[in-house]
């Protein structure tokens, strides 16, 4: 018996609630909901469920302004762990992007590895098999040894996890800016395929149905990981660091195969992966969605450490675990599937009526809470913060910053551009990722990765995009550009942009200037999504990305899904043959605001984000698609960082013919 001998639970006071990250009003709300002082375990449960990371309390009101419906969407944003998009042939794509920024700042290797593990679980918990991974990374400038240490270990963490788990890492992006010095951004994206009708739902239903925990044993890893992600990284949060979450890709591979097999038996009523806030979040969200309750017996949970309390078991964020509700009478059928893959599957409770989750430890009630009161869309608080236009905007848009002499030697400037870390080849990074496993990867070099779907003529075109300098200079237009850029990249491969996921990395929402950036960027993203008819299928918000006194640049990363109905129609970005004519689609307005060229010449990020006319952009993309479909062009490449000069250089470097060059007409 591993009951927590002798550790009496701390006395619950208002101070203890504040120490848990709850506000005065939130604590009063809990007293009102429960009609009494919460127990220590209940306080822990409310603090993680109402943390920014789980409740989206400071962002959900704004996120609701995004377009979240479309005839291809089988599941609305926020309904399930990831969006689900119909791609025909009876198939659907589940895809999502999520952040693991704060854990990666503390322990880059494990932070990045568990970020990949977590996003993969969000996909296969829906019954979909992950077929491709991407990642969007941001670090400080490379002259800083800490930035190099973080880059090296984040890349190794992503590679070791993804390569061992067996999903190809096919694309992504990396930026280096001083603002990310102490707070790197590590956003991981996963894309999965499922036959329509074979999906699983994150719901609890059926009174008396057993609740099972499957996968790794539970330890004290990451306790308060949820609230930790909602705090700025400071000396104080360093000391209160939870013990680091460690990823085990081998166990995750077993969990994937066993989970998909278990879902196929038809006896799994509902399933949810255990991410932030572990057992608490999964049990509460599944119960609230099914409008049922649960009796949970924490002493039945397989543990890895001795003497764990109910509080610790409910809040643990040990990796590679799932929560299942199984059809009564078929527990053994499900258990047998997991045991074949050497994984324990243990009944830890039962579904009951009444919507309350009651937690027992050795027969004693440790918590008894209404699930609805805890969840996003239920009783979790929703705030709309005040906004104020940032004072820096006046300064950075000072026109004087933009007039400086033309370069005498364009060639040397051109070489500086090609050598800048933001533009230079990232081969050193992506050669550490297995981009070919599953033999579906048609191409990774170019504007977007193309992954074919065996058994059909179709392929998916995938990319992540965000130029956070543009969003810093003009959040609304920067948000539009992030979506437009992602759509352009997909179009250049010959695919139709069909839906997006997003990872919104911003500073402290209680700072009105940061919240202004957030609202403006989301507004811009919404406008662009409507213009390109690419609805938002879901995603993630990560606030408190700050180090020292200043916030990181507002970084709303867009993950775009494109569809190629016939993979043989795929377009490449590299030139094909000497003698081909080169055209520039769209008008070149000579915008240099926020450009890498401006930074190289003046050392500043200033000016305004480049011009963007959404309807013009839409027609431009449709023209490009038509040229490709009608086989009128040999290659297509989008112009982004480094402008036309770098775009031409890249097309030469990726050309089918060795040492290709260009000459003016």
């Amino acid at each position: 018996m591993n009951s927590s001998i002798g550790i009496s639970e701390p006395q619950v006071t208002r101070e203890l609630a504040l120490d848990h990250g709850l506000t005065e009003e939130e604590y009063d709300r809990i007293l009102e909901i429960l009609g009494r002082t919460p127990t220590y375990t209940e306080l822990g449960i409310y603090s993680v469920m109402w943390s920014e990371h789980c409740s989206y309390k400071n962002s959900i009101a704004v996120l609701k302004t995004l377009p979240r419906t479309g005839e291809r969407l089988l599941v609305g944003a926020g309904e399930e762990n990831a969006g689900l998009v119909d791609i025909g042939d009876g198939l659907a794509v589940a895809f999502k992007i999520e952040s693991h920024n704060h854990p990666s700042a503390v322990e880059p290797y494990q932070g990045a590895a568990t970020g990949v593990g977590g996003i993969m679980r969000d996909i296969f918990t829906m019954g979909a098999r992950p077929i491709a991974g991407l990642n969007s990374l941001r670090f400080g400038t490379l002259d800083d040894p800490r930035a190099r240490y973080l880059l090296k270990n984040v890349v190794r963490g992503i590679g070791d996890y993804g390569n061992s788990f067996g999903v190809p890492t096919v694309g992504g992006e990396i930026y280096f800016d001083a603002c990310y010095r102490d707070n790197p951004l590590v956003n991981a994206m996963s894309v999965g395929i499922v036959r329509q009708g074979e999906t699983a739902r994150a719901i609890a239903a059926g009174v008396g149905n057993p609740v099972m925990i499957v996968g790794s044993a539970t330890g004290r890893d990451g306790i308060h990981g949820a609230t930790f992600a909602s705090e700025e990284i400071s000396e104080e949060s360093e000391s209160r660091r939870p013990s680091v979450q460690v990823g085990d890709p081998f166990t995750e591979k077993l969990l994937l195969e066993a989970t998909l097999e278990a879902i196929r038996t038809g006896y799994v009523i509902g399933i949810q992966d255990m991410g932030a806030a572990g057992l608490t979040c999964s049990s509460m969200e599944m119960s609230a969605k099914g409008r049922v309750g649960m009796d949970l017996y924490v002493d039945k949970v397989p543990v890895r450490e001795t003497g764990m309390s109910a509080y610790e078991i409910m809040l643990s964020e040990s990796q590679e675990r799932m929560l299942l509700v199984v059809q009564k009478g078929h527990e053994d059928d499900v258990r047998k599937v997991f045991e074949q893959w050497d994984l324990p599957a243990t009944i830890i409770g039962y579904v009951k009526n009444g919507g309350r989750v009651t937690v027992y430890e050795d027969g004693q009630v440790k918590a008894d809470v209404p699930a609805e009161s805890l969840v996003l869309g239920g009783g979790a608080p929703v705030y709309v913060r005040e906004t104020r236009e940032p004072s820096y905007l006046k300064d950075v848009r000072n026109p004087d910053y933009l007039n400086f002499p033309e370069p005498e030697d364009y060639n040397s400037v051109f070489l500086d551009l090609l050598a800048s870390p933001v533009i230079a080849s990232k081969r050193w990074v992506w050669e550490q990722y297995d981009s070919m496993v599953r033999t579906n990867t048609v191409s990774t070099r170019g504007d977007a990765a193309v992954v074919r779907i065996k058994g059909t003529s179709k392929a998916l075109s995938l990319c992540t995009d965000c130029n956070s300098r543009y969003v810093y200079l003009n959040p609304r237009r920067g948000g539009q550009i992030a979506v437009a850029e992602a759509a352009r990249n997909v179009v250049c491969t010959g695919a139709i942009p069909i839906a997006i996921t997003n990872c919104l990395n911003f500073g402290n929402p209680y700072d009105p200037e940061v919240y202004w950036q957030f609202k403006e960027a989301v507004a811009g993203i919404g406008e662009a999504c409507r213009a390109f008819d690419t609805p938002v299928t879901g995603g993630n918000v990560s606030f408190y990305n700050e180090s020292g006194s200043s916030a990181v640049y507002p970084t709303p990363v867009i993950g775009m899904l494109g569809l190629l109905n016939d993979v043989s129609g795929k377009m490449q970005a590299g030139f094909r043959a000497p003698g081909d004519h080169i055209f520039l689609l769209g008008t070149n307005r000579g915008d240099i605001g926020g450009s890498e060229y401006l930074r190289i010449r003046t050392g500043r990020i200033s000016g305004d984000a480049p011009n963007l006319d959404l309807s013009h952009e839409r027609r431009l993309q449709q023209l490009c698609l038509e040229l490709i479909e009608k086989k009128l062009i040999q290659s297509a490449h989008d112009v982004s960082e480094g402008g036309v000069a770098v775009a031409l250089a890249e097309a030469c470097l990726w050309s089918d013919v060795a040492n290709t060059g260009i000459q003016s007409g």
């Binding site: 322990e107 330890g219 004290r220 890893d221 660091r241 013990s243 460690v246 050497d342």
Partner: protein, 90 residues
């Protein structure tokens, strides 16, 4: 000259997937009396100095700054003075 033997291990509260997999392997080979398998690093190096204190300082700092990851690992080491072998003087 001193010969240092350093052991770097994961803190006990931290999950050791490698240890778990090896333990599973040993059990499947029939060694069921084995448990608590934990895998860490063994590092050997020489410190070219005559003073034990100096060698102690060098090894301790090397462990804190590079050889171990303070976020997740503990370290310990032994120091053994080694007469400068003939070959080394050559």
């Amino acid at each position: 000259m001193f010969k240092a033997k350093i052991t770097v291990t994961l803190r006990t509260s931290i999950l050791d997937p490698q240890g778990k997999a090896v333990e599973h392997g040993l059990h499947s080979m029939g060694y069921t009396s084995v448990s608590g398998v934990r895998i860490g690093k063994h590092i050997e190096l020489e410190v070219h100095t005559e003073s034990r204190d100096e060698a102690e300082r060098v090894v301790k700092e090397a462990c804190e700054r590079l050889l171990s990851n303070p976020v997740m690992e503990d370290f310990s080491f032994t120091l053994e003075s080694v007469k400068r072998s003939v070959h080394a003087e050559g």
